[in-house]
């Protein structure tokens, strides 16, 4: 059992359309909550690793490393911004983990933040499409939902997946999210609600898609020595994996398997010394309903092609054999892009600490988080344990 | 020395709008409009089409028939009244798209509906003098008619391209001659979305005077008579004018009707008389004589006497015919038409 690096503090803002909160206010709020939860002062932090996809496009701001440390009153400690589109948070987590595992630091922050609502909707689609191949996908009219819609269409063609099965992912996640006070949406929805929502990119409708959100999340990570010193209920990082794949969807070997997920998962399972059967709950990257189906297949929770059936039958619900996205997932919790990978680790921590309230899964030993960039060009998988 | 057409190609967009549909919006009587103009539907370009894309598709079709190395094309002239740029030639984009660049000359032409035939004459000069081995002349338009104006029923989109050379001709061009005056029958000032015209002034002193005078001149110079021609291809702004002109000159319905596409696709402006020529070449037999007379407002006509060769029938299957493109169509309503043509826009 790997017990070298642990999460000793967690903090996140509510996710949603947070008109009153600026980017600076968001990350300070999340960071403060995490420090308080860890019971330490910011002076004890050796470094900060921050995930953010698009501050340049959404708020015209780069050089986040300095901005974050300045407003967090943490200068002169070092910060590094990490970017891999929607996997920015997962990569910030892994980078922070590596900084402790290497012995370079013993207490660090892994955080993620995104402020997406300061631009008009017409600019949001274009900004998000920068996660795709600008020259050969977005430049020819592809949008982010459009790419996942093409994965969905192919998945339906190869495996008979139905629009109702896609919708069932959303329904399940909304049910879970309604029990999460930090989630952007707190309402339950029905299959009909999903099927009758406006079409975004056929067959994906509005309720098949995660929303545009503001939010920030932060973790305090510590070495084993520091964790034992400072924390009563550390959440250990048992395994970490990261992989890349081609940027453009059309360059992939398969249009329905995200190889980056498979590879990152393989690394994480290997390091943790376990298989998918040992996972008690998972937070996967449901930027679109189809993404959750591909994720549970590619992580080995069910056979390739069976994701739709598996979900429809309730296996991924709170009472199912493999609870997925107990937080409500990206769909319900919200998807402030850079913060997502960190927020997933927070849900994993809540589950392992027994603090997940009405969404608690009993006797969970290992929780997996899965964070994807773009249409699968990057994936980061982490496995946490008690 | 023979100069003539080595390859020709056409392009007509997929969308159509019916006269009835336009009439419905403006409260006009479709039957009287169809009777008056003899146009029952017109072609509409998609939102991603313009004179350049039309010229490119027609030119690629012409290359398929010409079967030459495009780098040997020494000149490209795209004639249009709807060039997408006022400054930046359509011709260089077309030249790049057919891989004729870079050892060549190019320029854009404008002469209302006869810019395409003007380009043909320039190419004939360059090829005939030995300055270029081949020349490409294109007439293409996505013309606009002001909402509610009579021209809205006819202003359409389409184009045809001709590769002019000396060898392997599918049609020889025996002679060309023109009739040009300053006659302001139809014009568009810069920045204006729609042209203006002189109403009935566009008839006698404009279209008819130039088409008839020009045709009579070439007949006189060549010594041919009207009966020597299998086909007469006049500019076709509507279904009525070309038939009246033909009659004035002594051509029969059988000689003129094969070139008349306007009833089914409208007036494609710089593409009009040249698409008429392409349609005729699509069906002509070896040794047929063709008399083409274009007309461009402002004003002028270019006449050409052509004779087809045995090569024509061998190569014309290599690209889609005018008829097949006329038949390949999809009807849209006025709202969609207005959206595609930019008459209504999202801000």
């Amino acid at each position: 059992m790997n017990q070298e690096v642990a999460i000793i503090g967690i903090g996140m803002t509510k996710f949603g359309e947070l008109w009153n909160r600026s980017f600076r206010q968001l990350f300070v709020e999340a960071g403060s909550e995490a420090l308080e939860d860890a019971g330490i002062k910011s002076e004890e932090i050796g470094a900060l690793f921050g995930g953010n996809m698009s501050a340049g496009q959404f708020i015209g701001q780069e050089h986040l490393a300095s901005l974050i440390m300045d407003h967090s009153n943490m200068t002169p400690q070092p910060a590094t911004r990490v970017e891999a589109a929607c996997a920015s948070g997962g990569l910030a987590l892994r980078t922070a983990y590596m900084s402790i595992k290497s012995g370079m630091h013993d207490v660090v922050i892994a955080a993620g933040a995104e402020k997406m609502t300061d631009v008009l909707p017409s600019k949001t689609t274009g900004a998000l499409a920068t996660a795709a191949d600008q020259e050969w996908e977005a430049g020819f009219g592809a949008t982010f939902p459009g790419l996942y819609a093409m994965i969905a269409r192919r998945h339906m063609h190869e495996f008979g997946t139905t629009e109702e099965q896609l919708a069932s992912v959303s329904v399940k996640n909304h049910y879970n999210g309604s029990k999460n006070s930090k989630a952007q949406f707190q309402n339950e929805i029905t299959i009909d609600d999903v099927l009758s929502s406006p079409m975004v990119a056929d067959p994906l409708k509005l309720f098949d898609c995660s929303p545009v959100s503001d939010g920030a999340a932060a973790l305090v990570l510590a070495s084993a020595e520091k964790a034992k010193e400072l924390c009563e209920n550390p959440v250990w990082i048992a395994g970490s994996g990261q992989a890349s794949d081609t940027l453009a969807l059309h360059s992939r070997k398969s249009l329905t398997t995200l190889n980056a997920t498979v590879e990152a998962g393989r690394q994480a399972y290997k390091q943790a010394g376990i298989t998918s059967k040992d996972i008690g709950a998972a937070e996967v990257h449901d930027c679109f309903t189809i993404a959750e189906l591909c994720a549970i297949e590619d992580l080995g929770f069910c056979e390739k092609g069976d994701g739709g059936k598996f979900t429809e039958q309730g296996e991924t619900g709170l009472k199912g054999s493999m609870p997925v996205n107990t937080s409500g997932g990206l769909k319900t919790k919200g998807h402030p892009v850079g913060a997502t990978g960190i927020a997933q680790a927070i849900e994993a921590s809540l589950q392992l600490r027994g603090e997940a309230g009405d969404r608690q899964i009993d006797d969970v030993e290992y929780v997996l988080t899965h964070n994807v960039g773009g249409s699968g060009g990057t994936a980061a998988v982490h496995i946490f344990s008690r | 020395m023979d100069v003539g057409i080595v390859g020709y190609g056409s392009y007509i967009p997929y969308y159509r709008i019916k006269t009835e549909e336009i009439a419905r919006v403006w409260g006009a009587n479709p039957e009287s409009i169809k009777k008056g103009l003899m146009v029952s539907e017109k072609s509409v370009p998609g939102p991603d089409e313009d004179a350049v894309t039309i010229a490119t598709e027609a030119s690629r079709n012409a290359l398929a028939l010409a079967d030459i190395d495009p780098e040997k094309i020494g000149a490209v002239y795209v004639g249009s009244e709807s060039h997408p740029y006022s400054v930046k030639p359509s011709s260089t984009i077309v030249a790049e798209a057919i891989e004729a660049t870079p050892i060549m000359t190019a320029a854009d032409l404008e002469f209302a509906c006869k810019a395409g035939t003007a380009g043909m004459q320039i190419c004939m000069g360059l090829v005939g003098s030995g300055m270029a081995e081949y020349g490409l002349a294109v007439g293409a338009d996505t013309s606009q008619g002001a909402p509610g104006d009579p021209l809205e029923y006819t202003a359409a989109a389409g184009g045809a391209a001709f590769i002019i050379g000396k060898d392997n001709l599918l049609a020889k061009i025996e002679s060309t001659s023109s009739f040009t005056t300053d006659t302001p029958d139809f014009w568009r000032r810069p920045g204006e979305a729609y042209p203006k015209h002189g109403g009935r002034f566009t008839g006698e002193p404009a279209y008819f005077k130039h088409i008839v005078s020009c045709t009579e001149q070439i007949l006189k110079d060549s010594g041919y008579e009207v009966k020597d021609f299998k086909y007469f291809v006049p500019h076709q702004p509507n279904g009525k004018f070309p038939r009246i002109a033909a009659k004035k000159l002594g051509f029969t319905e059988e000689q003129v009707s094969p070139s008349l596409l306007v009833e089914r696709i409208g007036n494609t402006y710089s593409g009009a008389s040249v698409l008429g020529l392409a349609a005729v070449l699509d069906q002509a037999e070896e040794g047929d004589k063709i008399l083409l007379t274009s007309y461009g407002s402002g004003a002028g006509s270019d006449s050409f006497i052509l004779e087809t060769t045995g090569r024509l029938e061998k190569v014309r299957e290599n690209a889609p015919s005018v008829e097949s493109q006329i038949e390949h169509k999809h009807y849209i309503d006025y709202a969609t038409y207005a959206k595609y043509r930019g008459k209504i826009k999202k801000e």
């Binding site: 430049g139 009219g141 079409m199 059309h250 | 997929y14 991603d48 798209a97």
Partner: protein, 130 residues
Amino acid sequence: MSVSRFWREIPSRYNLSGGKCTSCNLINFPRRERCKDCGVSDFETIKLSGLGKILTYTKIHAAAEAFEHETPYYLAIIELEEGPRLTAQIVDAHKGEVSIGAEVESCFRKISEDGKAGAISYGYKFKPRK
């Protein structure tokens, strides 16, 4: 898209010009620095035919600014007969004509423009093969 960015790719955008790897014969479209399969950096220019078939598709209703005026439009991943795959719009198609396996051919269209006063970038789209 800036003028130099699309100008640089004109051979690929206008004429489907790709590179055939001289080492493993894979046709790379568009050209890349190193062959996608074997990593070698030596290519022979090859112009693709533009004939292909649809592997998957969608109809986009919510588009980025530059494409808003065309919505809804079909977008597809197309496999060209020479092997490479690309992403492009499908135009001039009825509902039934866009399906997995449908045969398509390339055409030359406006892709986007930098506003009314900006430069126009042209390139490939595909339509059902007759």
